[in-house]
């Protein structure tokens, strides 16, 4: 139940963060397909064009590459663009701007040109959507030097991270897990603080197993952990640059680590987390069980009839927890 006016869904929390930043900084502008009159296909930008005008909340032509490329130019020209990719699946069209241009300007100009662009994209599956509307493609961006990659896990972190994304001068990819857009409510402040980039959060404490996860999987892992004592859950929030210390301290304490992600298993962030654990002698030698992961399978994201089979569900996650705890 909504109760107070600050008890918001993630859609409402993002809308509030965007509105407050538009209000605070006249350089901030929103652009993308259907973000104005329609308020975005998920209504994240609902009412913002009415409030801030057509010059600052802009319905663009249907062209992902140019939305990002123009945002790079806007940023160099002194604006702070927050652009929307309607779905992360269509962000691939813009990859030719994100990787070769947006991520590299700072480095190419030896610090002269900062690119304070936020690229927002609804991502992930689980809503019975169409083909190409469900992928978890964070690794395409985590692998690019120079990008900040964020993924909130609910209304509170979405609000704080969006504020941080807009205020940082680094080019930022902001993935919004669409299956939790309206799944639950949380208290969100008015004119609250940004949530720091590069800071993971322990959302559940325990001494026997560390579960590292992010986005929509945080809630699912909490559900799966409900019956098991001793499970600690770390919500990564910033996928790059990651907060290794929170993960390391937890794994050192529990001696066990399970990573859960929605992206396919091969090439997923679990591999990077495991590598870092292996590289840290103090953490590696504290392990009491093999490192483990539960991820989506290495197949194209299926059409919706089979998506529950593809995604990690509470049963598969609980089985993974049990197995690692027993090892």
């Amino acid at each position: 139940m909504s109760g107070s006016p600050n008890n918001l869904t993630m859609v409402e929390a993002l809308n509030r963060a965007l509105a407050e930043e538009l209000e605070r900084d006249p350089r901030v502008m929103l652009l993308g397909e259907d973000v104005g009159v329609d308020g975005g296909v998920f209504r994240v930008t609902k009412g913002l064009q009415e409030r801030f005008g057509k010059d600052r909340v802009v319905d663009t032509p249907l062209a992902e590459a140019c939305i990002v490329g123009a945002s790079v130019g806007l940023a160099i020209g002194g604006m702070v663009p927050v652009c929307e990719m309607q779905f992360s699946g269509f962000m691939n069209f813009a990859y030719g701007q994100i990787q070769p241009h947006m991520s590299r300007f700072l480095s190419r100009t030896r610090g002269q040109r900062r690119i304070p662009v936020v690229v927002r994209a609804p991502s992930g599956g689980g809503i019975r959507a169409l083909e190409h509307h469900c992928e978890s493609e964070e690794m395409s961006y985590v692998s690019v030097p120079g990008l900040v990659v964020l993924m909130p896990s609910g209304p509170r972190t979405a609000y704080g991270l969006m504020k941080a994304a807009i205020r940082t001068a680094e080019p930022t990819i902001f993935f919004e897990p669409k299956s939790i857009y309206r799944a639950f409510r949380e208290e969100v402040p008015v004119d609250g603080d940004p949530y720091p980039i590069g800071k993971a959060e322990v959302v559940r404490e325990g001494g026997d197993l560390t579960v590292v996860t992010w986005g929509a999987m945080v809630r699912r892992c909490c559900e799966a952990a409900e019956t098991g004592a001793g499970i600690e859950i770390v919500d990564l929030l910033t996928l790059k640059p990651m907060d290794p210390e929170t993960v390391m301290q937890s794994v050192k304490k529990t001696g066990r680590c399970l990573v859960v992600h929605e992206a396919p298993r091969t090439g997923g962030l679990a591999g990077e987390i495991f590598a870092r654990i292996s590289e840290r002698e103090d953490v590696f030698y504290s392990l009491r069980a093999p490192l483990a992961r539960v991820a989506s399978f290495d197949v194209p994201y299926p059409l919706f009839a089979r998506e529950n089979a593809y995604l990690p569900d509470a049963d598969r996650i609980a089985a993974g927890m049990k197995k690692t705890l027993a090892a």
Binding site: M1, S2, T9, V11, E33, D34, G36, V37, D38, G39, V41, F42, R43, D59, P61, L62, A63, E64, A65, C66, G89, F90, N92, F93, P122, I127, R128, A129, L130, E131, H132, H133, K178, S179, Y181, R182, R265, T266, F297, D298, V299, P300, P302, L303, F304, A305, R306, E307, N308, A309, Y310, D313, D315, R316, A319
Partner: protein, 422 residues
């Protein structure tokens, strides 16, 4: 066939990049109460052959009545099926789809100008064209029920499955026409996209390729006035869109997309050019998306009822029916019989699709066809999955029932209902 002499490299009567209808008895737009193009009025000419009242505007019809009846039957079949799908979606019996309501003449008229040797490259709204090509209703339904099995094309057909990333398919048509050229086959390719897609870089790149390489592609732009909430005039400053063809070095024609005879005539000529090695054509079929963008969209947010009403008067089915009735080639009795025939077909097809979903869906099917030969690591994952799925139902049946006023996104994420006291 369009009157007038054919010149190599141009469409008779249609200079490259120009509008049509300047000679040979093809009617210009005249006395239209609501202009087909909501941009600056009076720019360019639009090819028309039958007006809203079904009156022939040219001296001689381009098609015999029997053929028009056949095409009209396809249009009615597509519309009834489209409406049935919408109902099934609203009842929660299938997932999101993009209705073709209002665009039947643009689709049937253009695909009817192709032969089975020509390649059919759809976007995601071409239900009418796909049915004409031989796609089964049950296949279309299975896809909309979230089953890959429905993406298969009719056996032996030169079709490819629908393409959702906007505009991407235009390059595939370029490659297909190129392959036909390499193999010296007298076949072309027709690719469908919308006014929104003309803003995508890949569509420009594809048209440029086709121009440079002299490939037999019909770029069929269904200008349905809306890309979700973005109106045509905000999509491109160029009016008409057909004028862009000039930049690629091939002819462009704007045609009344709700005029079956005009669409067929223009496309027939364009496909003849494609097959004859005369290169590409851009056809802008001016039409209207009478329904939702997809079933998750709510057009009331961004367009007026008045506008929708003005296009209702230009409906392609009404127009074709009036035309045929005036010529004594159609009547209410035949209409009724046709509707009954389509309804009977739909009943069988819907049942077949629902039966399949209820009884035949194997979740492990997702591991097939990732590679031609399944690599060992994937076999291992499949075995793990089999173990994990044992004794559980992991296949999604129908989607949840639809509620009005939802978000425009595809999928089942409705706007949170207003809670009392807020």
């Amino acid at each position: 066939m369009l009157p007038g002499a054919r010149r190599p490299g141009t469409i008779a009567g249609f200079p490259p990049g120009g509008g049509g209808g300047r000679e040979g008895g093809v009617a210009k737009r005249s006395g239209d109460p609501a202009p087909a193009e909501p941009g600056p009025a009076g720019v360019g000419d639009i090819v028309r052959m039958v007006d809203e009242e079904g009156r022939l505007l040219v001296k001689k019809p381009p098609l015999p009545d029997e053929r028009v009846v056949e095409l009209y039957r396809h249009m009615v079949r597509a519309r009834r099926f489209d409406a049935r799908m919408l109902k099934l979606q609203r009842q929660g019996r299938m997932g999101t789809f993009a209705p073709c309501f209002g665009q039947e003449a643009a689709q049937v008229g253009s695909i009817a100008a192709c032969t089975p040797r020509d390649w059919f490259v759809p976007s995601f709204r071409e239900t009418a064209a796909a049915l004409y090509r031989g796609a089964t209703m049950r296949g279309i339904l299975l896809y909309a029920m979230g089953l890959e099995e429905g993406a298969m094309v009719p056996e032996g057909a030169r079709d490819i499955p629908i393409s959702i990333p906007v505009g991407g398919q235009s390059s595939h048509a370029v490659g297909l026409a190129w392959a036909m050229k390499m193999k010296k086959e007298k076949a072309g390719a027709i690719v469908y996209f919308g006014d929104g897609a003309t803003s995508e870089g890949i569509v420009h790149e594809s048209m440029n390729f086709a121009g440079v390489l002299g490939l037999g592609v019909l770029f069929l732009c269904q200008n349905n006035q809306w890309a979700i909430s973005t109106p045509r005039r905000q999509q491109a400053a160029a009016v008409p869109l057909a004028d862009r063809a000039r930049a690629y070095g091939f002819p462009g024609v704007q045609v009344d997309g709700n005029d079956l005879l005009a669409v067929w005539s223009v496309c027939e000529l364009a496909m003849r050019r494609a097959r004859g090695g005369e290169g590409a054509t851009l056809v802008e079929a001016v039409t209207y998306r009478r329904g939702v963008h997809t079933t998750a969209d709510d057009p009331r947010v961004y367009r007026s009822e008045e506008e929708e009403k003005s296009w209702e008067r230009k409906d392609p089915l009404d127009r074709t029916r009036k035309y045929l009735e005036a010529r004594g080639a159609w009547d209410a009795k035949r209409e009724e019989a046709l509707e009954a025939e389509v309804d009977a077909e739909m009943q069988v097809e819907v049942q077949a699709a629902e039966d399949y979903r209820a009884s035949s869906v194997n979740p492990l099917e997702m591991f097939e066809f990732v590679y031609g030969t399944m690599p060992p690591y994937l076999k291992q994952q499949r075995d793990e999955a089999e173990e994990a799925f044992r004794g559980r139902n992991v296949v999604v049946g129908a989607s949840a029932p639809w509620k009005p006023g939802g978000a425009a996104a595809v999928g089942q994420l409705e706007e949170a209902p207003e809670e009392p006291g807020r």
